[in-house]
Point group: D3
Chain length 247, copies 6
């Protein structure tokens, strides 16, 4: 089984964190590929940055997904995820999508802990669009700078753990999602310091993708996720054109 993880951002260090956690979450026989976006920003925390990231995800999938068994959009707010589902007939999974799904399996309400206060609004809008807002207890984000987004989980580990404990004690969280690809892998290290299940988006997405691959391709011949009707286009990259109109 070959899985492609697309980092919608340009941070190679975060791509590396994603790749490592993906490999640790891989079943025997799963081959992990990770791609950094061709274009974009260091990390997405606003709606404007998410627009760029969404396009970059489509472009990356157009270039690299052709012989894959599943694709993971590896930024927490799932930029371009729903779009890409329309275009591929293999499983396409996002970190937010998968981690709220895993939180659902633990039962009760979940909180999110992330790397900035600003980024939380985007996450919440995505979770509301998925219809999961009634299950969400709170978002708490770092209110502190960091030198490199690829090292924020090391630099600010104690602060992040304190935020997790506040979610449990003040907000009634039954599980906590460490949200944001830059936090990939942290849950493994600190799970025993938090008294409720701790969820890693990359791990969740890997579990979801590997599970669905076993079912074979996804055939959507109708409905709102069927392939977009063929129509005129202009200015798309050659790869994107082929992704929209494969034959």
């Amino acid at each position: 089984m070959k899985l492609l993880l697309i980092n919608p951002n340009i941070s190679e260090s975060v791509t590396e964190l994603i790749r490592l956690e993906a490999q640790r979450s891989a079943l025997p026989g799963t081959e992990v590929h990770a791609q950094t976006a061709e274009f974009g920003v260091a990390y997405i925390e606003t709606r404007a940055e998410a627009v760029i990231g969404a396009h970059a995800v489509l472009q990356s999938a157009a270039c690299h997904a052709s012989d894959m068994d599943a694709v993971i959009v590896a930024a927490y707010g799932d930029p371009g995820l729903c779009a890409l589902k329309e275009l591929l007939d293999i499983p396409v999974i996002g970190l937010t999508e998968a981690s709220v799904s895993e939180a659902h399996l633990y039962g009760g309400r979940f909180s999110l802990v992330g790397i900035s206060k600003r980024i939380g609004v985007w996450y919440q809008e995505v979770i509301r669009a998925y219809g999961f807002h009634d299950r969400m207890a709170s978002y708490r984000g770092l209110n502190a700078s960091f030198s490199d987004v690829g090292r924020v989980q090391d630099e600010r580990r104690d602060m992040l753990l304190d935020l997790c404990l506040e979610c449990v004690e003040k907000d009634g969280a039954d599980s906590i999602i460490l949200s944001g690809a830059p936090l990939a892998g942290l849950a493994r290290d600190v799970a025993d310091r938090i008294p409720v299940p701790l969820i890693d988006g990359v791990g969740s997405a890997m579990r979801a993708a590997q599970s669905l691959v076993a079912l074979g391709g996804i055939h959507r011949h109708t409905g709102s996720y069927a392939r977009p009707p063929r129509k005129g286009n202009r200015g798309l990259s050659t790869e994107l054109q082929r992704l929209f109109h494969p034959h």
Copy 2:
């Protein structure tokens, strides 16, 4: 990995359907065990029957879950599921819980197709309690009798497929859940006749349970899913007493 599927009903023929689909959904090395409820009714379609089924699930888990790696509550409305999550520190998964989670991963809205009109209200109440109602497009249920609940998927196959197509065409379903343990396995046989993804609750629950087992035990030391506080009790079976108060 050892998985226990508990049929909260007394229908051995349905237990057999569940076991077969579970085995087909098992990863290499997964051992499938299936138990029929000690007490209960032929199949649950009302709130009253669900109360009995919930107790039977706890009793069955108390007797048979001790050396398991995960437990699946194998009736579609998930009787006793949230209760059992509080009592075990291994993954406990329900068919409704898992299948709406899988529908979420396909994107958009899902419909349910079930074996009676009456049973649909219970399903909808459970899905609402999970906070998934905004993702649900419709429920459509058989309005026809059947001789044996274990054979309804054969006796009424064409009618069930017609209901699926109505969900797609009239209700805008992006995926369809064949809901009810008596329909276990049907999705495999008829997937190519329905133009959107078709979801089998037993298969979904197997995928969810096997994914989570890889993470190791679930430790909930606080929150609303922590083990109930120790307190006086009377008239519980010996096994249930031990389930509530393990040491």
Copy 3:
């Protein structure tokens, strides 16, 4: 008029509190009967305990409701209530159900004050299932131990009153429900110390039950609360069998 109050728990002291408040709320000519559960726990505060309590309620009704005019499920989260409504053609009322209904008649939003923080989650899930969550301002629960659940209203009276005042001042409550059968009767004693209406679940349920009895039996020949269809069963108590299939 003969009313049966079923305590789904095994605490005789709480049954006595319930009986006393029920008698004070009885109209002339109303005969009050109270039954303690045959099996169960000291008091329900989790989903697991509620499963046992729900079965105990059905069993108790099966044994004692045959010549009654109405039944009250006398624990605040209403275990087994919706199930029992399906099985009896007399009014069946729960404490939560009745007290939120009474709060609705006072107008605006209500808060709940209860005996533990943990128990609040169960209450909120039940109130959400009733569709009343938009009317609920908050839950505040004791964060203190007590020697006997039957005496918590005396031991922790001042703390409970402080919680009520916080609901008014901080949460904007227009009325307050003293939630939990162990608090039965407290509202009468302290109403003048709280500046908004104070609601007693047992009193509310008595008022609701006595009102509906005047209308005669409840005949549900169809709909989701009609009697469950006759079908095979196994291992139920003789009384429960008769409750499910009366003739």
Copy 4:
């Protein structure tokens, strides 16, 4: 116990229907008074008419409620109800408020059947304001004229019953509210022709009011239903001035 029913409309024939049903729903010792609005329209079915009716209710209460034990606002959309609750320290109950509360006690979802299609929108807006919309299955209204609003229940009885049956069969209603004061009393006559509980708003309001009177006066010293702060006013009737500022 003295109860005042205020008809917010000018139809004496409807006041008479209300009075009759109220008397049939009265407990021994309850004295029923009914007042027709001093000003207003024949029957309210729009937001504009409801504004006039609301003022008329306050005026009528100002004139006639002084020695009453409870007041019932006897039009189905409850014009002026929440306003009047702020001004009186006795129970003030509305037909919609009470009938949805009674439907809640029957469990599941309710439908409304009314005397015109137009009037249904107003009813639904009120039910949504009460937070009960998730419990509402449907509204169905007469699409036919009638010679006198006080006789519509006789002239169009068969049509009304057909609408009730459609609510059960097509909309999944677990109970039905005959909505509109002009339908007062009809439920008694036709209950045996409808397979789910049938609710009469006047009867519901009588039951609610009589229940609450037993609790004594309602003291709201704070919260959003406390008496409006004293402030300057102009052009109010003498009675209304006294209602706003009693001493």
Copy 5:
């Protein structure tokens, strides 16, 4: 273009504030008329006062709107607004209605800052009725007295600004509505002291009304906002009778 602003209260000083801000928001050629209610209270902050104000709005429109191009109901909770829309075929706009609409155009979530804590509940009920509650971040109101409602924006300016800043910092507001006609005009003066857009209800309503006038009259021949059906009435002012039944 001639616009009528109706102050549903009797405070001439507030009418003057409204008139001034309306004139500053007027396009070239727009003629502004402002009317104080014939009857009512100093300022509305409760449901009871809103009932009176709603009737006063209809009466004022009946007397003064005949040659107008649009009417603005100039109290923040929009008393009588929906009623008046049914009765006139010109744009009828309310301050709450228009300011939440403008907040929507700024994006994200808005907070309200008002002149008393009590008044906030009414505002929130109205915003919920409009279906805007998911966009509302918070309400914060003065907890301080003032000598004259027409001068509260001067007397309590610093407190009001502090409340605005709390909405931004603690509640996540993306814009702030200065709510209450007594705050008309304040936004202009203090906009540069608040880091998110500041909304003035009178200005918003002027912009909305002037925009819609350009479209010509509003013809609603059916639907729930069509003119109420002609029917018997009694005790209405001559002007109101003509407003309900124009010919």
Copy 6:
């Protein structure tokens, strides 16, 4: 006043429709500019196409908005709208955003009529994200082909009007939005054939944009719509880089 309308699609014929309706909706002194997307598809009806359109909107604004007073995103689902609001300190308005806002000012519930069934899902997701779903009565879309999206309003006019009437009669619409830029201008021609207000997205957006321009620039120094924090980027067009980081 200079307004820029960006067509996120490549259809010049639709840009022309947009420009014409914008000019008819312009106040004296308003200068209308319209730009067709540099890249994209003929018309957006899926999530995948919307991703491309959103990027194209940012690119077009980056190139052409520098001396404008407001920007209108002129496709009905508002691709890139929220993103662009973060990047510009002038009003940025979308057709969906503005037309639901105008429908709100008419009162009650609105329906949408559009050019394909498929496109309706995207519209509904956007309206839900805005929190307006409780105000939406229905979507009805053409189930018929057309030769050119720029002429669909002529080719299928009668069908479109029939859909409008169905919205009124079957779905209870109080107003109707002709949704989709290809329908720009149609409302003017057919308003007198529909018995409720008919809304044109381009006209609504023009009214909203012109109203807000009068207020001056929009200064968002904080909140979720403030400019994205400065951070590393790669592969963006020179214009987009400047849009993200202006100085």
